[in-house]
Symmetry: C2
Subunit: 325 residues, 2 copies
């Protein structure tokens, strides 16, 4: 199929993953509308789409603001729903705000879609976060749900809404459970989006960063590969009504990652530190995704090694540091 002229909505499209998806879709000729609350602390950054708005249309709104978002949702052939806040600590400190942003807004959004455009193809950006500490590795989609924090509870509920609407109302929805996605356009000012953001900041500024613990194994998805996965999901009818893990590069420990980053950057350094007590309670330890179901159904696989992804990411921030610091 061609994306040329196809009306597409990307929620959270001014954020990290969303903006990379928008850029790809716009490049493929899609007619893209972004719905975004433009909250800088959750990753929205006007520079992410700077030269693209217009032609990309921007609706500055909460996805739950029915009257504002209904017209765009009503005419979309595809809706990529990536809006949300990702900070675990913020969710513990402001749980009601997190409920609003990550769960209630999704319920309103789905009700709007059901009313205005029940046939739209919808891909929801979910998370591996609510598996909690893995009971086995690699983690497949049957792994028990055990949200380790408020954010995890709300993201799980939001995913459950999507699957419920698919099952009960026949909406054409797929959910992808993301792991650690990284790449250009992520927030690097602090660790609100991912710890890797702040590491990259230190690497390009040639300063020291902290590695908490370090033994934990994680798998990382380069954002271009994640964009591939969103598009592959959207184009596969088989994935409708289902949930899939998305993994990526082979897992590495955080120490290995820090070492790799410093080596590729040729700058920065790290100090190892004990895991802070209040974070340890909500940390999940090792995580490795089993994404074989998604690979089997769509043929997707990551095209970038961790080294390549890190090199491209560092090059991006070296060129555009001013817009992200």
């Amino acid at each position: 199929m061609t994306w040329q002229g196809v009306p597409v909505v990307v929620t959270g499209g001014m954020g990290f993953i969303g903006s990379n998806l928008v850029r790809r879709l716009a490049g493929l000729g899609a007619r893209v509308t972004v719905i975004d609350r433009m909250l800088a602390q959750y990753g929205a950054n006007p520079f992410n789409l700077a030269e693209l708005v217009p032609p990309v249309q921007l609706i500055e709104a909460d996805i739950g603001a029915e009257a504002v978002v209904a017209p765009a949702l009503g005419e979309a052939a595809f809706v990529f729903n990536l809006a949300g806040q990702t900070s675990h600590m913020d969710s513990m400190q402001q749980p009601l705000e997190d409920l609003r942003l990550n769960q209630e807004a999704n319920l309103r959004f789905l009700e709007t879609l059901r009313r205005t455009n029940p046939a739209a193809r919808v891909i929801f950006s979910s998370t591996r976060q609510f598996y909690g500490p893995p009971q086995y590795l690699p983690v497949d989609e049957k792994h028990p749900i055990a949200p380790p924090d408020i954010n995890g509870i709300h993201k799980y509920a939001a995913e459950a809404y999507h699957m419920l609407f698919a099952r009960v109302y026949g909406q054409r929805i797929t959910a992808l459970r993301l792991t650690n996605v990284f790449g250009p356009r992520m927030r690097i000012r602090d660790a609100k989006q991912t710890f890797l953001g702040i590491w990259i900041r230190h690497a390009i500024q040639d300063t020291r960063f902290e590695v908490w613990g370090g033994e934990q194994k994680r798998d990382f998805t380069y954002v271009e590969d994640m964009v591939d996965a969103f598009l592959a999901a959207a184009l596969s009818e088989t994935t409708i009504g289902r949930v899939y893990n998305i993994g990526g590069c082979p897992p590495v420990s955080l120490l290995e990652l820090a070492e790799l980053l410093v080596r590729i950057a040729g700058s920065g350094a790290y100090d190892r530190r004990e895991f802070p007590a209040e974070r340890k309670k909500i940390d999940i330890g090792d995580y490795v995704a089993d994404d074989s179901a998604f690979r089997a159904v769509t043929g997707w696989r990551p095209r970038h090694s961790l080294d390549e992804g890190l090199a491209e990411t560092l090059a991006f921030y070296r060129a555009h540091a001013a817009h992200y610091l």
Copy 2:
């Protein structure tokens, strides 16, 4: 231990299970405060506690109304949190209202407790409902979570809040996952609380009721046994931070139950009917609880057979029909 003079809060204490718990606690000498929104459609019925208010104190409020409920929560040694709405159909038609009542109110409630009385012993009334259609029988607590409706999503999130607060903040919380509880003081005007309510109404009015499907197996807990379980949980330190299924009488099919009810009542009759299509989508089929973990830890077991429970229930509604129709 003695309940004499012990300050206890029961949320949803004007409803079906709550009021039975309140009556038992008051009889044991506890100083009981009820927090209840007094919503008749969700089971609140002033007659349930008629002669007991006072000495039982009634606070007519949402459990999330922090300023109103904080004083009572602040001085409680035990808090039984039973407030909520139980109608699956209402939750699908008014999902945002269900979010408010069944989830957000619980988050506000837990935040209030954490601030005013972090050492209170808390028992949360959860549900087997979010297991969805059982993948195996009997269903133990490790069974996957698969909420079949909006109500199930919100009840699961509310339980997850309780477990999170126990783990992260050290609050002394236990959650019990209830199955089909029945007995005096349940709503029998309609099927909003349980289908068994409307069956009992027809039995005492000697009219005909409908059995949808009929092959589905369910287990039923007589409300006095459920009250036993709440008290047993409260008095067991071992149950803190954990979730337990509560079952009851050996499972019967709905047809067997209808037959038994009509026979014990000596009145009423039933017609078998196909399951309505829109209900079938959210029905869960057979359900049988494995509650062996709770029995092992607390020694609890049901004291009433299904026959005894039905006979007592029918006698209650024959005596007090006017207050429930």
